[in-house]
Point group: C2
Chain length 508, copies 2
């Protein structure tokens, strides 16, 4: 029909359809340099301070197995306090790969993590969700599944993430089973498993074994676990237990200190970065002592503080600058980097939300982050996953696909023939050069309104969150689950049933 109808309207329709389903790669290869803030001297100063913290103060590690592994490797152990000679932890990290592959259930969505690869993943860990229609409320399993379906449907997100929101309607000790199942059933992009208790990490990996095959999981990374340090300078046993579970299974922990400057670390950036560097390296080292050569991600999460209330702040200039240094440190220690995301403290999708999100996401892009968790959906300091926020953030990820391509300097891009054709004072609309490049010239935003004031007014003066709400409905309405082998699906469901039956419900 479209081709017979012909003419301008058909072309417009074709373009609109293309715009609705844009094509994107499984992950991005950055073609622009990282933005390196410090020189050798400054970086060495930070590394030396991190070493000083580890040798003079050390870390408290609430995990006998981990303490024993470090003692055997040559650390100085005094009860739960573990101290390291300068350079020791960094040397232990050196056996981790600088780049690894995380396989998707759909191999066309397999991603690289490290080097020049950039992977966008949804926000993680919010107990609440928010949308325009329903307002703010506790997250449910339906919300969780919705966000998995949205991430599957949006080409600019490469990863399904982990706890995209807390499914608060499912018992605390059984949620992880439904969450991992949702990632495996409603998406085929790579994903993250549970970390809150080591046995839940084991369950997550076991589900991955069913979906991918145990032999595959033994050889290849198919699941990540996001492991938080209890900053300052404490490794909690639940976290190191989960970390060791992932590493033992040859899967990748994302090792992340969460440092709110002034609370879990100094109020000054240099100290926070040195502390984070020390804490992260100890976690990565533990993974290597558990299974040498297993993959790991150097994670970082810096935030600042409102001076008058002590409340956490996000999307502020201090962490944005700090991230640039963190990126350099991660590259020097030779590990893939997770950093920043679309952060904000705003309660709603307003100007504050997107200003702060843009500032913090830009930091991730510039610092060379390879795995960008919290790329989409984050509101209210991480307490809320926003439906419309998810869409506008993901749209920004789309724009960043273009940004990370840099600039094409091939001969035809200079349009010298076009200038000869057009000459001074004429416009390029109809030039041959324009027609040749028109379809692919610019990123085509889902959510930006570029119409005239009159068009916008006559269309009801809609704000970006209203357009994003339409996109949520459209994507969920047209969602199709990726195929899955029936036998595999059954085995996954059986695992859920058996594990759930083996435990009483826990609600806290």
């Amino acid at each position: 029909m479209a081709s017979r109808a012909g003419g301008r309207s058909a072309r417009v329709a074709a373009r609109a359809a293309e715009a609705a389903a844009p094509q994107a790669p499984a992950f991005i290869r950055r073609q622009i340099p990282t933005y390196d803030l410090l020189g050798e001297e400054g970086l060495a100063l930070i590394e030396t301070t991190a070493d000083q913290l580890l040798s003079e103060i050390g870390m408290e590690i609430h995990d006998d197995v981990a303490v024993r592994l470090f003692r055997d490797a040559g650390a100085t152990v005094d009860g739960e306090r573990v101290r390291f000679d300068p350079g020791h932890v960094r040397a232990l990290c050196s056996t981790a790969p600088s780049t690894f592959t995380q396989h998707g259930r759909d191999p066309t969505h397999t991603v690289e993590i490290g080097g020049d690869a950039v992977v966008f993943a949804p926000a993680y860990g919010s107990p609440f969700v928010r949308d325009l229609e329903g307002g703010r409320r506790y997250g449910s399993l339906v919300d969780f599944e919705n966000f998995v379906k949205l991430a599957w449907s949006i080409p600019w997100l490469h990863h399904s993430g982990g706890t995209v929101c807390e499914p608060v309607d499912v018992p605390v000790n059984k949620r992880h089973l439904d969450m991992v199942y949702a990632h495996l059933r409603y998406s085929a992009k790579p994903f993250m498993g549970s970390v809150t208790v080591p046995s839940r990490a084991e369950d997550s990996i076991e589900l991955a074994r069913i979906a991918f095959g145990a032999d595959v999981v033994e050889r290849q990374c198919v699941i990540l676990g996001n492991i938080n340090v209890n900053s300052p300078l404490v490794w909690d046993g639940a976290m190191t237990g989960a970390l060791r579970a992932y590493a033992a299974a040859n899967q990748a922990p994302v090792v992340v200190p969460f440092i709110l400057g002034g609370a879990m670390g100094p109020v000054t950036l240099a100290g926070d970065i040195a502390q984070a560097h020390a804490e992260t390296m100890v976690g990565v080292a533990l993974g290597q002592l558990t299974r040498q050569g297993s993959p790991a991600i150097y994670g970082n999460f810096l935030s600042s503080m409102a001076l008058r209330s002590g409340a956490p702040t996000f999307g502020t200039p201090e962490p944005a600058i700090g991230s640039l240094v963190v990126g350099q440190l991660a590259r020097r220690v030779g590990l893939p980097l997770r950093c920043s995301g679309s952060f904000t403290t705003s309660k709603v999708l307003d100007g504050q939300a997107m200003l702060e999100s843009a500032v913090s996401m830009q930091a991730a892009i510039l610092c060379g982050a390879n795995f960008i968790l919290h790329s989409a959906g984050w509101l209210e300091g991480g307490l809320v996953m926003g439906y419309e926020k998810f869409i506008i953030d993901a749209d920004h990820c789309g724009a960043l696909h273009t940004y990370l391509r840099g600039i094409d300097l091939s001969a035809d891009q200079f349009a010298v023939d076009g200038f000869h054709e057009v000459g001074p004072g004429k416009h390029f609309f109809g030039a041959q050069h324009t027609l040749r490049h028109y379809e692919t010239a610019f990123y085509d935003s889902w959510t930006a309104d570029n119409s005239s004031f009159e068009q916008w007014r006559d269309g009801g003066e809609r704000r970006v969150e209203e357009r994003a709400a339409d996109k949520v409905a459209e994507l969920l309405g047209s969602y199709e689950p990726p195929p899955i082998d029936d036998a595999v699906d059954e085995e996954l469901r059986e695992f859920l049933t058996t594990r759930k039956a083996s435990m009483p419900d826990m609600w806290y």
Copy 2:
């Protein structure tokens, strides 16, 4: 009273007062590197293409005096078409200073333009204004004066700008007099004059002579004029006339091609940048032929296009990447740079507005722009100056003061004593190190809400634009004009009266 009242509440009050009137320098000295995208080979390719455009196609210049100046300098002239041998225009630009000083009427607000200096100036040229209460309407002289007063009151803006909005209630041929008077009377920061007709440029400079003294103006830059190229490759006579007026008076033209890729230039970035480079250099060269050694600013204004409508778009990834290259080109030709700003096509201060504004402002910061016009207020592709947008953009400029300082690596910033005091697992809130640095640790935003959800809800669920509207009212309510010598003020007013009486009103 405050010191006697003592204790926490007094400190909180003192902090709140400090936050209300933050201190800022007259301009910023950047302490972070520029983000250089291209290497020598890529930059040389662009420069060669610019030279090729100037030698093969040349520029059309609708100004006999300018054409004669170029002919005398060795250009090839064919009617209004002027062609230049490769390297010729760049050589003509070499007599312009790489850095110059623009004096404010208040010398504490004198700025440097060039090198590592960064100057934020308000948006420019909107026929409409918008605020929450009154909606969108034509700008008036009252609006114009309001924005001058706001820019004077906000420490994060270093410059009063030029046509901050069109005072549409004043005749077209007399507006410039009221605008320049407002900059001189309601502010004492540096400012920009009129450019629309050469005689209006002359009037602007004459008013500056009254305010600063003719001998001072002869020696020092006190006024800028924003001069647009009629891209592609045309210099209009009104613009070159105004440019020559500023240069002849030893004042600085800001030479700016406005290129909407696909319309006034190719749909491909490489061609746009080469074109802009050629066009800008010709303008700067004309200033140098008018008065060798006079100051000038290398301006740039790239924008992209909505593929489905042909409408201009702003805050998109293509111009953000392009700006990085433009910055490198400006530094290679040795000129101060004007680039980007807080651009958006959004009609209102929503998430789209601030996402796009952050992306384009970040490009200005990274590319090393020295004079950032359109830093605050821009909405609707430049058609609207927004009151609340002005505030949140200016707040972002405040945050960028911190960003541009980079990271402090002095010994105390590493907080090693703090780590020894606090130890693993404790928080830093009460640490000596925290108390020592607390007051100055983080940028304190005017408009971001970092309170808890409950506080925010109980406070009326206010959005950032509502908080910004309060700030507008507060700043205009507490505005105090800078002092001016009565005799000077009278002379300025007499000049206005005489000039206005000499012409009939023109309304278009």
